[in-house]
Symmetry: C2
Subunit: 421 residues, 2 copies
């Protein structure tokens, strides 16, 4: 399939700041790209009517697509659910308002699976429309991949940022837990729900995070004083690794080799027992919390919800609090083990998904390589660059210690260049 | 002032289960008490129209008042703000739906300060209407104190459960962080916002928590196998203690003496340096998060918000992320120090507030004795029983280790009996 060139946020901002691109034109370009492409990609559920583009602010001229589980005061918000058709919140979600306050234009709402769970959105994968774009942030990943917008906002409760980014061949960044605010999002599992960002490449997503939050997260091309020999990169030998596709396993080995070639201190690291146990706690925590958080929806809209969602919420409500508490203790032990792990290594490399995007639109793929890191609250990122024999993207996931987002982004930017070279 | 006798949830449930009280009658009694009293107490902002009372469920017949920062699908939800007058959510908050699922009747919405911050509600203190009931859960505490309902739901971000409970002479229980779900509440500071419960006495609030959550939290009159000699109770000598009123300091000393008389292993315990520093981090964390969580309200409704709220949100938006991160690190060190503290002691005793409810309705009092424990996520409870010379309640706060809610409730129930004896 003929894919548009992706829009680089960093290049756009540079053009704007040098006077070569006016904010109004930057947003108009996106509207045009959406008009030309979204009939076949179906990444957007709603487009904002044309309005004045802010001329000021660090994100002036940046058109952002927002996953439709975030409230927006000027656009419908349906959570991917027919139950909420036509729902119009009074105020924005915090991350949406923050983006506007920085000058961004919220150009539209992007498709999500129902309640950001598993029932697919209509979006197709821009790399091959017969394949899923992944989920639940399907539209956010696809809109960036198709070159319609330079940036999008999504969420991850299991693997909903890193996995669709991998399947679509873009960068998806799940920051440390709570680095971006969740107020005004449709919660599924509040102790897991994490706001994440999509952009074409690592430098782009880091710049987006920096300009949104005012944090020192940008990783421009050169890294003065950054010596990869001081960064310990560990190929993570978790038990799941054997379940990945051969193409993905090869890509991961190749990624580690390229990291070594780029000067990083590369080794292998096994999975501590406590982390294997923590992974299994994810489902209990997620489902119990969904039983509470989505109980009100079930009570009012059961007939308008999918069977898989109804069953998951009901099963969550049947989980004994003692089982939930035990799962939280396993998660806590896992976080302690994670802290210990990151004394031995700075960056872990693992697959972003078991393989490339599965054929078909009935499922959005499997979060088995993502959910542990969501539960641990550690920052994680999909680094694009590899492809399988059919040309579909294979994503490598890098993970760092909680709070070490800057290191993660800087290393990922270097690795991305190494992977693409 | 002539105050009604408070309604005991435990007694009502016992009467219901023995067939002496029908759920319908139990709720009707509350409607009647509200009709007779709320013109002067002003605890309710909205009353649900009479409707069918569930005959089944552990909370059948229990009329619950819900702080008006929780969404309710059948009643307006205004967050104590004129900006949201007439707002009607589509679905309940998670805790509201959970209460209904257990059979409770949501009898009305209770008054809150604006956005659960400091601008007072019209509610008066049922013990003396010239005094504040405390805030921000003003209506929830006052409605229980005035004998209008047996149970109410509130929230605490600084001291908004324990303080109004103390001022009104009821039990206010702030569980371990996230024990009760926050989905569908109006957030101010998501890493602090904690759902809490009000009832007449400790046994009542423990039963409410048990029946709501299905957890083993009930503490009926007798405690087989519970030996107070094995429970180390520490009078907490924090620096703030010197700033409490003399009457409060005397009450705390007396509380410690009575605890010793009741057989507990009572001592004194100083405040670790790390906890003093953590207390100071509360404001930075709260305000920065409010800048994000309430930014959308400020963007849309600035003219309809109080000056103090506008200034707080704007100040929060001006806090540098690095200062926020430093405050979160101080909080984390504080949580480690709290864990260490609770290896030396099982229960801490501190004032619930600097003294009795201040005269006047212009302020809701000072959370200086509460906010540290909100930040630490530890369970805390106001134990009523003491009074000052004017007959106004003086509350003693008990605090336990995170997750030790059952121990806290069991000890508090014994202490309550000792205080009242």
């Amino acid at each position: 399939m003929d894919t548009n060139r992706m829009m680089s946020l960093a290049s756009l901002i540079k053009a704007r700041d040098s006077g070569k691109a006016k904010p109004e034109l930057m947003v108009a370009l996106c509207r045009d790209a959406i008009a030309r492409n979204d009939d076949r990609i179906r990444a957007f559920t709603h487009l904002a009517p044309p309005s004045a583009v802010p001329g000021d602010g660090p994100l002036a001229g940046v058109a952002i697509g927002v996953k439709d589980i975030f409230d927006s005061f000027d656009q419908p918000t349906t959570f991917g659910s027919i139950a909420y058709e036509g729902f119009q919140p009074l105020v924005d979600a915090a991350i949406v308002e923050l983006a506007r306050r920085r000058g961004a234009s919220i150009i539209g709402k992007t498709a999500t699976t129902e309640f950001a769970f598993f029932s697919p959105a209509p979006t197709v994968n821009p790399r091959n429309p017969a394949h899923t774009p992944g989920g639940s942030s399907s539209g956010s990943a696809a809109a960036v991949a198709a070159g319609m917008i330079p940036a999008a906002i999504g969420t991850q409760t299991g693997g909903s940022v890193v996995r669709p980014a991998a399947f679509c061949g873009v960068t998806g960044y799940k920051p440390s837990f709570r680095l971006l605010p969740t107020t005004g999002m449709k919660h599924f599992s509040p102790s897991l729900d994490t706001v994440g960002l999509f952009a074409a490449g690592v430098e782009d997503v880091a710049l987006l995070a920096a300009l949104l939050t005012g944090r020192d997260l940008a990783v421009p091309g050169e890294f003065p004083g950054f010596d990869p020999a001081n960064i310990r990169v560990g190929l993570y030998r978790c038990a799941q690794l054997e379940t990945a596709d051969p193409a993905m396993r090869s890509a991961l080995e190749r990624a580690a080799d390229l990291a070594a070639d780029a000067g990083f201190d590369v080794g292998e690291i096994g999975e501590p027992e406590a982390l294997a146990r923590a992974r299994d706690a994810h489902k209990t925590i997620q489902d119990h919390e969904a039983g509470l958080a989505c109980g009100p929806d079930l009570a009012r809209y059961r007939e308008q919800m999918s069977q898989v969602l109804v069953r998951t919420i009901e099963a969550g409500q049947a989980i004994a609090p003692s089982d939930y508490d035990a799962a939280r203790r396993r998660a806590k032990h896992g976080r302690n083990a994670t802290s210990a792990l990151f004394r031995e290594v700075d960056i872990l490399l693992t697959p972003s998904a078991p393989g490339a995007a599965p054929l078909g639109l009935e499922t959005t793929g499997d979060p088995r390589f993502n959910k542990l890191w969501t539960l641990m609250g550690t920052p994680a990122i999909n680094i694009p660059g590899f492809r399988d024999e059919a040309g579909m993207p294979l994503g490598i996931q890098a993970v760092a210690r909680f709070g070490q987002d800057k290191t993660l982004l800087a290393v990922a930017a270097m690795l991305e260049r190494a992977f693409r070279a």
